[in-house]
Amino acid sequence: MPHQMLVPRKVSLFVPCFVDQLLPEVAVDTVKVLRRVGYAVEFPADQTCCGQPAFNTGYWNEARPCAEHFVRVFKHAEAVVCPSGSCVTMVRKFYPELLAASPLREDAIAVASRTFELSEFLVKVAAVTQVGAAFPHSVTYHASCHGLRELHLRDEPLQLLRQVDGLKLIEMVRSDECCGFGGTFAAKFPDISAAMGDSKAESVAASGAEFVTATDPSCLLHLQGILSKRHAPTRTIYLASILAQQSLAQEKP
């Protein structure tokens, strides 16, 4: 992670495909937060997908052109910010390997070094933890796997949450145990995926929190499906959606 890079004033937004199609508010709130801390946000309309679904299923030859497309789209971005730890992992961790023999290899490495998950961008690059948010509810945090183990995000999301006005952070047991989504895993092994989600839902319920949040909206999509099926009261909310909330006093007229 280049600590010494110049703090950019403009970021390019990379929106995961499932966020684009199913959870647009995740991207909307991400933009809100980035603007509030002083960044202009551009959205390159030609973007599609980082390639993870094909890559994770073993179809690296199909993932490769998709990755090359991503690199072309974001080649000139000062910084790429994405509301998803798993997509950022794909770009930062796997693009260099996937595109090792590609003519775009150098560009890929360069783009990868400038691609960030939202919370790590805010805390490490923009160097802010106080984003002027207010959310007077109890919240428990699920440590999404890619963010935790591949991007080494241990503290950044919590640092942000602790600065939110009125937010009561409750720790859940086994917060770092996988929720069970895993992308194609949920389609190929639906029973195991659901059982893992069930166990996670138990941990969430045991925390007593009103909301559960994470750095990966895919985890939350899967969890919400399970929580709703169980008629559990806890609601999922993506990290940026919490940070985007302002107290009435702070809202501009």
Binding site: G58, E62, K229
Partner: protein
């Protein structure tokens, strides 16, 4: 029509993951391990340095495997021991069986060895009329139940005391009334003690083969490994060739790390070193000492630049313990000698990618396994590589290949992608409004089996952005 391993896995996984009693038992067992493990970790000042050191030791050993194996062999032979190199399971079993037969062995006592499970040694001996007693308590229990071990370190963790007491009553002694673990252990001790003193041959595994000292290192807590290698007249070690370590002093870090990762202990109670049969002047010990070095696919892994490090595994079981998939389906579901993450990575190499690739897909790639592996094997990335290998070997379904080719086309053409997404949402909204969620017409029916339907916004983010020209 017989099932494939993949079909069987899917079926067993579905049953087991819904079994809440099983889930509760495993959860309790793993909670117990978690707290013990944390205590064990606290005894090591720099855990990451310990992992680094263990990785280096195993890397050195595996990268010079032939040299170290020969060094080990030379010393064992100089002390009057025998070393047999078995290319595969069949050769290993034949050697042990022929040896036992030639020596007039009628009873064997065995301490825990996953390699003997891998090569199916016990059935081979029993077919030759030799009685085999598993002496590790957990192995003893699953042997009585005629099932494979559930876990490579704690073979009977899926059973509660009531089930074990009932088993002992039925198979050993109807007079066993108590289900207290203390009494059950005492009953097992009584019976197995007779076996230790009657058996002509003891068979053990090896945790490590120490090259410079030419000794086999065997770790047990119960003392069964000690008795197997002290009392009977003949001792046979069955081990994979990859168990080698270069120096005796490597054990100063490997022993504590193995114990910490395996059970949370500082060191296993009996950390034994054996270099040969009883020497002249010694009070006791076996007359003959044989080491069977088993290849069975391991040497092939050496040539795999990405996955050679899989041979570094010290079989501690930590990856099984932390794996959420293992915790929900249990050890038997895998249907392989080695379950859990290491099993999923290793089995395609030992037993064929076509038949066992499904295990590499049965993972959410959460990475917990890699984070706890004491020798830093990048387990979850190897699962990913296995998936790629399966695809490149043409071992995946043609329907799936078509799906991803279509997917690729869409992802390279943003307007097609956007149209595809819009059509999907529209179709799903229609299907759900007709009350057909979960039916055969519902492409999300697998999702909807266990979850409430995904939200279906009328506008994608990009459509909103375009409309508001980025203002919102």
């Amino acid at each position: 029509m017989s099932q494939t391993a993949a079909q069987r896995f899917l079926q067993d996984a579905a049953l087991k993951s819904a079994d809440l009693v099983h889930r509760e038992i495993i959860q309790r067992g793993m909670d117990s391990y978690d707290s013990a493990h944390l205590k064990g970790r606290a005894r090591i000042k720099d855990w990451e340095a310990a992992r680094q050191k263990c990785q280096e030791i195993k890397r050195e050993a595996i990268n010079h495997l032939d040299r170290y194996l020969l060094q080990f062999e030379e010393q064992v032979i100089s002390r009057g021991g025998h070393v047999f190199w078995a290319a595969n399971a069949e050769e290993a079993c034949t050697y042990v069986k022929n040896l036992a037969t030639r020596l007039g062995v009628r009873t064997v006592v065995k301490s825990k060895s996953m390699v003997t499970e891998e090569i199916h040694l016990s059935p081979a001996l029993e077919k030759a009329g030799i009685k085999v007693w598993e002496t590790d308590l957990g192995e003893f229990i699953v042997q009585l139940r005629d099932e494979p071990p559930y876990h490579i370190v704690t073979p009977a963790m899926h059973l509660n005391r009531g089930q074990i007491a009932k088993l002992f009553r039925e198979k050993l002694d109807p007079g066993i009334e108590s289900d207290d673990p203390v009494d059950l252990m005492a009953a097992a001790r009584r019976i197995l003690r007779q076996a230790f003193f009657a058996a002509e041959m003891g068979i053990s595994g090896a945790n490590f083969l120490v090259a410079d000292a030419g000794v086999v290192a065997i770790s047990t807590n119960e003392g069964n490994g000690r008795l197997c290698t002290s009392v009977p007249r003949f001792h046979v070690v069955v081990t994979g060739i990859e168990k080698v370590i270069p120096q005796l002093e490597d054990l100063a870090v490997l022993w504590p790390v193995l114990a910490t990762s395996g059970t949370g202990q500082g060191i296993t109670t009996y950390s034994t070193l054996i270099g040969g049969p009883r020497q002249p002047g010694e009070v006791d010990g076996p007359d003959e000492f044989h080491v069977v070095l088993v290849d069975n696919g391991r040497s092939q892994l050496l040539a795999d630049a990405e996955q050679r490090e899989v041979l570094h595994c010290i079989r501690c079981g930590a990856c099984l313990n932390i794996c959420p998939v293992f915790r929900h389906v249990g050890g038997h579901t895998y249907g392989t000698t080695y379950p859990g993450p290491i099993g999923s990575v290793l089995t395609p190499h030992l037993a064929g990618i076509k038949e066992f690739k499904h295990l590499s897909y049965a993972s959410s790639l959460c990475g917990a396994c890699s984070s706890v592996c004491p020798v830093k094997i990048d387990l979850h990335h190897h699962l990913l590589q296995n998936r790629r290998n399966a695809t490149e070997a043409g071992a995946t379904k043609s329907s799936e290949r078509l799906i991803f080719r279509t997917w690729r086309y869409a992802m390279l053409h943003p307007r097609i992608y956007a149209l595809g997404g819009w059509s999907m949402r529209k179709a799903l909204r229609m299907i759900y409004s007709l009350g057909l969620a979960g039916s055969i017409l519902d492409p999300m029916r697998v999702w909807n089996r266990h979850r409430s339907p995904v939200p279906l916004p009328s506008e994608s983010f990009r459509a909103r952005w375009r409309k508001s020209r980025g203002a919102n």
